[in-house]
Amino acid sequence: MSDTADRVQKIVVEHLGVEGDKVTQEASFIDDLGADSLDIVELVMAFEEEFGVEIPDDAAEKISTVGDATKYIEEHKG
């Protein structure tokens, strides 16, 4: 697992209170990890903080899996 993926997984586990092995790159925040839309807003804020990236609302709306988040961060982090 890449460093980014590893840190994303940790944030998701902490925020959603789910088991680490469920947080695969394919896992959907809503369908697989029990998040609601506000949880995703909070997760996006946590990713921004952790990685120093800005994730605008239109990009955040397209993030539905853990992999989507990891990919966006890897492409945009400084």
Partner: protein, 419 residues
């Protein structure tokens, strides 16, 4: 009117994370007070509080037992305490499994006096220091007073009345009284009723200290600070926690063979129409509430065995006592009267509900909890059994529980043993 009984109890207090631990410590004369650990109180006028202890403490509270990790992260502590106390009460009542039809007839009335002040303080600083885009998306619904009720009804699928009282330090008593009426009036068959509070945060402590309500001269002797009726009392000690009871329609409770702790027979409400923080100097509002409760219960002055006083350890204690004397008689007609705030501090919106649970346990066990630190009773207390320092065995069949709050709001509850 339908009869309403108590069939389940739940507590999170500075003396324990559950009912029996809290009660055992209360009767043993333990104090929940200590130096504030929740934040650095340096610079505060009051540096002590009765905090709910962490799970590593022998009297501690473990939030992981009944509250989801995700919810814990999103909400203020008062909501966590409230959800747990409600869960305890439901388990105690044997009502964790209900049919859909029963759930439609089950509601909640769990309020708070202030609500999510710690979270409001944190997010306000966050807003000013880091901007609106950093405010938590869970900020609003994690702080709202009615979100104990909301969270509990979502967790258990209850679709009956979804209610939350906000009457400062009378909240817990009003919550139980209102919920009892909802059952009596056939709006519901089962109600979880009570109050929760947690404002042991810099803004909460500073605010009450500035209002000259908090004890500020016993910081070096925390367990001696809450001393209702004592000549040297000097303000209340902040407490936190939650109390919730299961109220149930009597015939239903009897039919399912539930443990019936008590019947809610009297409820009185009034306003002081006097001052925002000070009680009416003659306690007229308090007297009206007590008289109404007695009348509703169909009881006379000599029928009350125990009064759980509002008794916050402020100057108002003797005003309440004078009002109780006018209602029950100069010697209280044989009733014992104590203030459990001497041990757990003042739980504000949670106080009336926690004290209602203590009243019920007083009847169950025939033991009256003490008024701690009462070494030099104030003038006007002569000949009255204020249960100083040590718990006392006596039969208790009817209790009167007083709660009064800022804004001049008064509530009195009467509960009785059911034969």
């Amino acid at each position: 009117m339908r009869r309403v009984v108590v069939t389940g109890l739940g507590l999170v207090t500075p003396l324990g994370g559950d009912v029996e631990t809290s009660w055992k410590n209360l009767i043993a004369g333990e104090s929940g007070a200590g130096p504030i650990t929740r934040f650095d109180p340096e610079g505060q006028k009051a540096t002590i509080a009765c905090e709910v202890k962490g799970k590593d403490h022998p009297w501690g509270f473990d939030p992981d037992k009944r509250v989801d990790h995700k919810v814990q992260r999103q909400v203020d502590p008062f909501i966590v305490y409230g959800i747990d106390a409600a869960g305890q009460a439901l388990e105690d009542a044997g009502l964790t499994e209900m049919t859909d039809a029963e759930k439609e007839r089950t509601g909640c009335s769990i309020g708070a006096g202030i609500g999510g002040l710690p979270g409001i303080e944190i997010e306000s600083v966050n807003l000013h220091e880091r901007g609106p885009g950093r405010v938590s998306p869970h900020f609003v619904h994690g702080r709202l007073i009615n979100l104990v009720t909301g969270q509990v009804q979502i967790k258990y699928g209850f679709m009956g009345p979804n209610h939350a009282v906000v009457t400062a330090c009378s909240t817990g008593a009003h919550s139980i009284g209102d919920a009892a009426r909802m059952i009596a009036m056939d709006d519901a068959d089962v109600m979880l009723a009570g109050g929760a509070e947690s404002t042991v945060n810099p803004l909460g402590i500073a605010g009450f200290a500035q209002a000259r309500a908090l004890n500020t001269s016993y910081n070096d002797r925390p367990t001696e600070a809450s001393r209702p009726y004592d000549k040297d009392r000097e303000g209340f000690v902040m407490g936190e926690g939650a109390g919730v009871v299961v109220l149930e329609e009597y015939e239903r409770a009897k039919a399912r063979g539930a443990t019936i702790y008590a019947e809610v027979t009297g409820y009185g409400l009034s306003g002081d129409a006097y001052h925002v923080t000070a009680p009416h100097p003659e306690g007229k509002g308090a007297e009206l509430a007590m008289r109404m409760a007695l009348k509703k219960a169909g009881l006379g002055p000599g029928d009350i065995d125990y009064v759980n006083a509002h008794g916050t350890s402020t100057m108002a204690d003797t005003i309440e006592l004078a009002a109780v004397k006018r209602v029950l008689g100069d010697d209280l007609s044989g009733a014992s009267m104590s203030s459990t705030k001497s041990a757990i501090g003042h739980l504000l919106g949670g106080a009336g509900a926690v004290e209602a649970v203590f009243c019920i346990l007083t009847m169950r066990d025939g033991v009256v909890p003490p008024t701690l630190n009462l070494h030099n009773p104030d003038d006007g207390t002569e000949g009255i059994d204020l249960v100083p320092l040590k718990a006392k065995k006596r039969e208790v069949r009817a209790v009167l529980n007083n709660s009064f709050g800022f804004g001049g709001t008064n509530a009195s509850l009467i509960m009785q043993k059911v034969d």
